[in-house]
């Protein structure tokens, strides 16, 4: 029992940490990582549900399968999110450059 609880609590704390990070940090990469941490936490709780102390029955394979599926989904989403974050960074940098240029122009004309 204590095993299940330990794993579950750890998972929950991971989830909470991820959540907090996701909320307060603005950098995209941190956010993506935070989400990953969160999902790890959830998977941990899920896997803990499958645990049975020896002799008390069979280990439940369904959470395992679910975690596997979840991981794959998480991987895909993470990949996509990272790519998207990169694109955003690039374009926002480009944007920033252009905006600066534009801001500079009227100043010059004023001078």
């Amino acid at each position: 029992m204590i095993t299940t609880l330990l794993y579950s609590m750890t998972g929950l704390i991971l989830f909470a940490m991820g959540l907090f990070t996701l909320i307060i940090h603005s950098h995209p990469l941190r956010k993506i990582l935070a989400v990953n941490v969160m999902s790890t936490g959830v998977f941990l709780i899920l896997v803990a549900a499958a645990y049975k102390p020896l002799g008390l029955g069979k280990i439940d394979p369904v959470p395992h399968a679910m975690v596997l599926t979840g991981i794959v989904v998480s991987v895909s989403v993470t990949a996509l999110a990272l790519l998207l974050a990169c694109r955003v960074q690039e374009t926002s940098n480009l944007d920033l450059l252009e905006r600066r240029k534009q801001e500079a122009r009227p100043k010059e004309s004023n001078q």
Binding site: F15, L19, V35, L46, A81, V88, D95
Partner: protein, 506 residues
């Protein structure tokens, strides 16, 4: 060959597997993508029609995937709400498919950006087909974890679609959207975990039987609901929706606004009114209603101030979603049985109207090169059908008779008054008034042809862009006159709802 009998539950697979295969082929092939997608959309509609036929004549069905019974297998099921959502998706989907074709071919005509648009079109189709798969899967699925997978399927394809236009704003919005979706999915999954640990099953029917007063189950409901609320963009969690919907390509906006948010809402509806009904408290229902009420007003006010048409329409979605939630507190009344139907019916009417409106916005944008509301004067001269479609869709959004929106609003009002919760009725009325303001703010520009208006003829837009919008708008309008049919479908296999139509179709 039992699979091909009309009564076979295996028909349920059609709306899932067909778009899936179409999606694969669309990705695989370089040519005739549109033909593939169109075939899939048509076949999807046909499949849904067969399912409705089944429902009407054989009642609700369960389809066990792989032949594995619950609890270990995954079950699909058809019933009224599911089929109505499927039907909405199929109709809107078909229209969007046609519209997207017209949209992309119009854009590709412009030589400067031809390559970019070709590229966009190349990826639009597989993404859209897989999104359709996800949506259909969501509506049909009866398994709480499978729903998570479909949610993710929808989230990823929707986020990719939202980013498709390549504009920085849209990519930023898509990124946010993806993160919010992820947060929502994870919260949902956490709920699933709680539920599984409490009940040990994943099938919704079984869960419904196991419903008991355990804190784990309640926590699970709360977590899943919050996750889904995030995805449904209910106030105050709506922040991601307007930028994502407004900055996407027009067909994408249509899909996102009309269908995607409805998916997660549908789940909420299922959970609150079916699976978890025994443990729902009145205060929680009121809470949802309050959020809905605030959303109605807030969304409408924001829509009123938007300078751009697409943003206006997007905020209107925020507002309209509120109506779906205001129905929650109205269910808890004895004898008030048809509220069920209202929500789905309303979602249906809104889907049609909103997609028509986004199509109009897209067409106008393409035609003028902008969608600033104050510069829209005179567009009527060149795009009469589009403007007409906007008007009709607007009627439905405002809830004026005889539109579907009106019937839905009528039902909501009458439930509110029957249960003497008149304050909800007040909110509904105020909301529709605000809706009138933002709809007509645009309309007044549409209708006016200023005296100095230059009747230039830019490239005529494809009829594929104008007519689907009109068709959808008309459907949303006529839905009001034919409201008994969808409600009848809803009533099938639902003991409570069937009481409304004791003698069959009126």
């Amino acid at each position: 060959m039992t699979a091909f009998q009309l009564a076979a539950p295996a028909w349920m697979i059609v709306p899932i597997i067909l778009p899936l295969i179409a999606g694969l082929f669309c990705f695989l092939f370089n040519r005739r993508i549109f033909a593939i997608a169109l075939t899939a959309a048509l076949a999807n509609l046909l499949g849904v029609c067969i399912l409705i036929y089944q429902l009407l004549f054989f009642g609700p069905m369960r389809c066990h995937m792989g032949g594995w019974q619950t609890p270990i297998g995954i079950t699909l099921r058809t019933d009224g709400p599911a089929l109505l959502m499927l039907l909405t998706t199929a109709i809107t989907g078909l229209a969007v498919t046609l519209y997207a074709r017209g949209y992309f071919s119009y854009r590709i005509l412009n030589p400067r950006h031809a390559a970019r648009h070709q590229q966009q079109q190349r990826y639009f189709w597989p993404l859209w087909m897989l999104l359709l798969t996800g949506l259909n899967g969501l509506f049909l699925s009866n398994d709480i974890f499978n729903l998570y997978v479909t949610l993710e399927l929808i989230a990823i394809s929707a986020a990719s679609l939202a980013a498709l236009s390549g504009k920085p704003a849209s990519q930023l919005a898509a990124f946010r959207y993806l993160l919010v979706s992820l947060l929502g999915s994870l919260t949902y999954l956490l709920g699933v975990v709680f539920l599984y640990r409490s009940c040990g099953v994943l099938d919704l029917d079984l869960l419904q039987n196991l419903m008991q007063n355990a804190p784990g189950i309640r926590a699970a409901l709360a977590l899943m609901s919050i996750g889904l609320l995030l995805k449904t963009a209910l106030f105050p969690l709506h922040f991601w929706l307007p930028p994502a919907h407004a900055n996407a390509l027009a067909p994408v906006s249509v899909i996102l606004s009309a269908l995607v948010v409805k998916g997660s809402f549908y789940l909420l509806f299922r959970f609150w009114f079916e699976v978890f009904t025994p443990i729902i408290t009145t205060s929680a229902l009121n809470f949802m209603g309050t959020l809905g009420a605030i959303a109605i007003v807030w969304g409408a006010i924001q829509a009123m101030r938007q300078p751009r048409l697409k943003l206006m329409v997007a905020y209107s979605t925020v507002s309209q979603l509120g109506y779906l939630f205001i129905a929650f507190p109205l269910t808890r009344i004895d004898g008030n049985i048809h509220i069920w139907g209202i929500v789905i019916f309303m979602a249906m009417a809104h889907a049609c109207a909103k997609s028509a409106m986004f199509m109009v916005a897209g067409t106008v944008f393409l035609h003028l090169g902008h969608d600033r509301i104050k510069d829209l004067n005179g567009i009527r001269a060149n795009l009469p059908i589009t403007v007409f479609a906007y008007g009709i869709a607007g009627v439905s959004l405002m809830g004026l008779p005889p539109s579907g929106g009106f019937i839905a609003k009528w039902l909501l009002l009458s439930s509110a008054l029957t249960s003497s919760q008149w304050w909800w009725a007040l909110v509904i009325i105020v909301g529709s008034l605000l809706a009138m303001i933002y709809v007509f703010r645009v309309m007044s520009h549409f209708f006016v042809i200023p005296e100095d208006y230059a009747f230039t003829k830019p490239t005529p837009v494809s009829p594929l862009m104008e007519w689907p919008a009109l068709a959808l708008a008309l459907i949303s309008l006529l839905l009001g006159l034919a409201a008994s049919w969808p409600l009848y479908i809803l009533a099938q296999g639902n003991v409570v709802l069937a009481q409304i139509f004791p003698g069959g179709l009126p």
